[in-house]
């Protein structure tokens, strides 16, 4: 294993994780809800969901976060590597996969593991495994850097 120490950002990543943890904690302690982004979006796409305004406001907060960030600091680096085709395939897989799997990195990976849910632990192992495997196959077996 070959660690890329140059791009390793332990403190900002840990601090970002702490903020994410605080956000997930606030949402469950105050609103009684799980901060799972795919679940929130998915339920807004379905007719007759309850708690629409709370869910929408959480997403609005998420949506405006780069604007608020921009008031205090320069925007962090955001660099895509995929072309349009890769983005479409990835988007459809993420959309359908998170709905069938009932969650994503936030709902399963953070909230689910934190409440010690076996389903979320299994889900997290599955998407981490296929994420690692996909990058390995694309980059190292096929030589495609999406």
């Amino acid at each position: 294993m070959n660690v890329d120490w140059l791009n390793f950002t332990p403190w900002s990543s840990l601090a970002g994780g702490v903020l994410i943890g605080l956000a997930a904690s606030l949402f469950v302690v105050a609103n009684g809800r799980i901060a799972g982004i795919s679940g929130l979006i998915g339920s807004l796409l379905q007719r007759g969901s309850e708690g629409v305004s709370e869910k929408a406001l959480f997403l609005v907060g998420l949506l405006i976060s780069p604007l608020v960030w921009g008031l205090f600091a320069t925007r962090p680096q955001i660099e895509f590597q995929s072309g349009w085709f890769g983005l479409i395939v990835a988007g459809v897989l993420v959309g359908i996969g998170t709905r069938y799997g009932s969650g994503c990195t936030s709902g399963h990976g953070v909230c689910g593991i934190s409440r010690l849910s076996p389903r979320s632990m299994v889900a997290t192992i599955c998407f981490m495994f296929s994420g690692f495997a996909t990058v390995f196959i694309l980059r190292h077996l096929l030589g495609i850097w999406t």
């Binding site: 070959n2 791009n7 990543s13 970002g16 609103n31 949506l63 988007g91 690692f132």
Partner: protein
């Protein structure tokens, strides 16, 4: 009040994603590239997030309502079924292709890159496809 806490929670969540580097697809892909030049930073995002939220979330399991008097709505399903496993595997493939998952996609939607717009539209299409298939299944 619950509207304000929802908004603040979403905002904090987004700032956390931006600070952590989760909203940068290149960094996510470098984390997923175990056999390449591996950037382990994002493992620390999980450590920080879970470290903070484990106590509030395990507390929540024993409550029937939140501190603001809202019903505690935690998932109740227990079964480890093919839908959970297959869906999560598909999600991971998509995550591994583009390095972006639903939270960061929302968090960087307003930064104006065409890539995130395409990803978001495709993701919403995937979610709507799921909903359509579910409605069909229930007939």
């Amino acid at each position: 009040m619950i509207k304000l806490t929802a908004l603040i929670a979403g905002l904090l969540f987004g700032l956390g994603l931006l600070l952590a580097g989760m909203a940068n697809p290149s960094k996510v892909l470098a984390f997923l590239d175990l056999t390449g030049a591996w950037d382990p930073s994002l493992a620390l995002v999980m450590v920080g997030a879970i470290g903070i939220s484990i106590r509030p979330l395990t507390w929540a399991r024993q409550q029937s309502s939140s501190l603001l008097g809202r019903p505690m709505q935690l998932p109740i399903r227990r079964e480890l079924d093919p839908r959970l496993i297959g869906g999560s595997l598909l999600f991971g493939i998509g995550w591994g292709i583009a390095g972006i998952c639903p939270g960061p996609a929302v968090a960087i939607l307003l930064t104006g890159s065409w890539q995130v717009l395409i990803f978001m539209l495709a993701m919403l299409a995937g979610m709507l496809l799921f909903t359509a298939l579910e409605i069909k299944r229930s007939y």
